[in-house]
Amino acid sequence: MPLSFLKVASVAIAAATVPIGLSAVSWSGHRLHPVTITVTLPPGSITYSLPGEFLRGEHPQANPRLKRRFNKPIEIMTYQVSVADYADCVKAGACQSPQETREIPPNAPVTGVSYLDASAYARWYSQATGDYWRLPTDEEWAFAAAERFRGGFEGLQADANNPAKRWLARYKAEAQLDRSPDPLPRSRGSFGVNSRGLADLSGNVWEWTSTCFVRATLAADGTGVANSLDNCGVHVVEGFHRTYMSNFVSDGKSGGCAVGTPPDNLGFRLVRDRPGWRKLILGYLGI
């Protein structure tokens, strides 16, 4: 595909995102919810540091930065799943109530939800809409977040002679964020829109991804991963910074980050997988 075309298409699609999302859902014919607004990201690539923990030999390494290419468009919710959206799932008996006691506007993102809750919602929402909805992978999230993607603090080289240097550096990096806690979820849209048209990324609600925590040992020559071990009892959570949470945790503050800045809140947004996406978009654009 010629580069110039891609550029034109991406601009056009960004502008046309909302109508696509609107019409896509209305086609399904049995809508139970307020219309789900989505953004469709055109194919593209991202260079980002992988989540997880990486060793070379016996020592922790900076997380490798990889270029990841997305050959297909990604359709992702513009906003996080809201309190009202999630309440429908609870009403239907398919989701448990969120662990949330504060008074939050119904159109604010749902919070107090674990990975298990988010997965249950995705399953129910797929059935309810007849489409396939799922949590984004970590790299999809990073791609969608674009300039709002920060990643983790794990990307520091270990000093073989002094492991404490890495711990102190990470601690200082987190402290330097100097982020004052801002715990109360706000109405959707309060944290603005990023360059790709997604709202409320990296505000005060962190988002579950479908990516498992991984510990990998890099090959001695640095050409790849020699071996790795997934722990899918823990998933990557993205937002203002990257963190890792056990699947059953719904309150970020007590769920991890023994040292440093814990997430204010845990929520999520979903990705819709559709067959023949490219054809659909090109058709819409009249190409």
Partner: protein, 368 residues
């Protein structure tokens, strides 16, 4: 002229007692009190401590302190929960005062008219008059000056004690601090050999009892008095909603983490005016610990966790041997992690492989 019976009465008589003070002092104070040297000390907010000599220079003196009481709302956790705090000098806990044994502590306590409540101060280090509480009750718009002789060495709590239910209420609203009375010749180890510290930190631990609404969320009140009835109900349940160091969750972490270097000796003074606690330095120890805080007693050695009785202050001396981030916690870990009683030390220096090394990094379990 100043009877026990009078001492147990309230504010009105308190004022009379203050008026009677000069005569009282003249009768019993040493004749040469006027000849003693005076030193004015400016207090600093915890965890820091005002500059002081570890070994006294010269003879006993009068050390003058001033504290202004400040009632103000303070945020005590990351959720923005607010306590209508009562503070000595604007901080929770109040500042650590340091003097030497046989010095005289002369405190001017100011209760500005911007406050709404009467306050006083009870020094556990002082002798008589309910620790000075009976002689220091000041209404908004008043100030008082108390002098007491620091006859015993050690770390001691001070707190507000204005009578009845006001006592616990003022204390769990933040009104406590500590004073350290050093032996004139400084601290000594278990064999009587002098020991010194390169840094000193003062950690005051507080238990807070914030009322909740019907949904379980913390309530806030316009004034301390508005929340009094609700807070008393929570207090009587004896289960704190927050257990924190230095006034709020996270007050000694991140940018505010305490700093030291490998090879430096740190004295940690820990007070709890209301409730038992058990400090523990994760990855470190207490080389010499005065658990009860009283320096006339031989320090315990090599402690893993030490016990601070509610209503007392203890002191632990430790030389850092390894760099890294240390957590200093109340080792009731529920209180440390869920309720807030966690502080951090950032310690810089060279790693000692002999003390610890990771022989083999985590990897998949070997299968044959």
């Amino acid at each position: 002229m100043f009877t026990r019976r009078e001492a147990l009465f309230g504010a009105a008589i308190g004022a009379a007692a203050v008026a009677a003070m000069p005569a009282f002092s003249a009768t019993f104070a040493p004749a040469d009190i006027g000849a003693l040297a005076r030193e004015k000390v400016k207090l600093v907010a915890p965890p820091f401590v005002h500059p002081h000599d570890q070994v006294a220079k010269g003879g006993p003196k009068i050390v003058e302190f001033t504290m202004t009481i400040e009632e103000k709302p303070v945020v005590i956790d990351a959720d923005g929960t607010t306590l209508n705090a009562m503070t000595y000098n604007g901080s929770v806990p109040g500042p650590l005062m340091v003097v030497h044994q046989d010095d005289y502590v002369e405190l001017t306590l100011i209760n500005p008219d911007t406050n709404t409540l009467a306050h006083n101060i009870d020094f556990h280090a002082a002798t008589g008059a309910l620790g000075g509480g009976e002689l220091t009750l000041v209404n908004p718009g008043e100030q008082v000056t108390l002098r007491f002789k620091a006859t015993r060495s050690g770390t001691f709590v001070y707190h507000c004690a204005p009578g009845g239910s006001m006592i616990p209420w003022h204390v769990v609203s933040g009104m406590s601090g500590a004073i350290m009375v050093l032996p004139r010749d400084g601290l000594k180890d278990d064999k009587g050999k002098p020991v010194k510290y390169d840094r000193i930190f003062y950690i005051g631990e507080n238990d807070f009892y914030i009322p909740r609404d019907e949904n379980g969320n913390f309530k806030s009140y316009e004034t301390a008095g508005d929340g009094y009835d609700d807070m008393m109900k929570v207090m009587r349940g004896l289960i704190p909603t927050h257990v924190v160091f230095n006034g709020k969750v996270g007050s000694l972490t991140g940018d505010n983490a305490m700093k030291a270097n490998v090879g430096e000796t740190v004295l940690i003074v820990h007070s709890q005016a209301n409730r038992d606690t058990r400090p523990h330095l994760i990855g470190g120890h207490g080389d010499y610990v005065w658990e009860e805080g009283k320096f006339a007693n031989t320090p315990a050695k090599d402690l893993e966790t030490w016990f601070i009785r509610g209503g007392s202050a203890g002191a632990a001396l430790y030389t850092f041997l390894q760099p890294g981030v240390y957590a200093y916690v109340n080792h009731n870990l529920i209180e440390a992690v869920e309720l807030g009683a966690t502080a951090h030390f950032m310690v810089e220096g060279e790693w000692n492989d002999d003390l610890m090394t990771q022989v083999e990094a985590p990897k998949a379990i070997a299968t044959n």
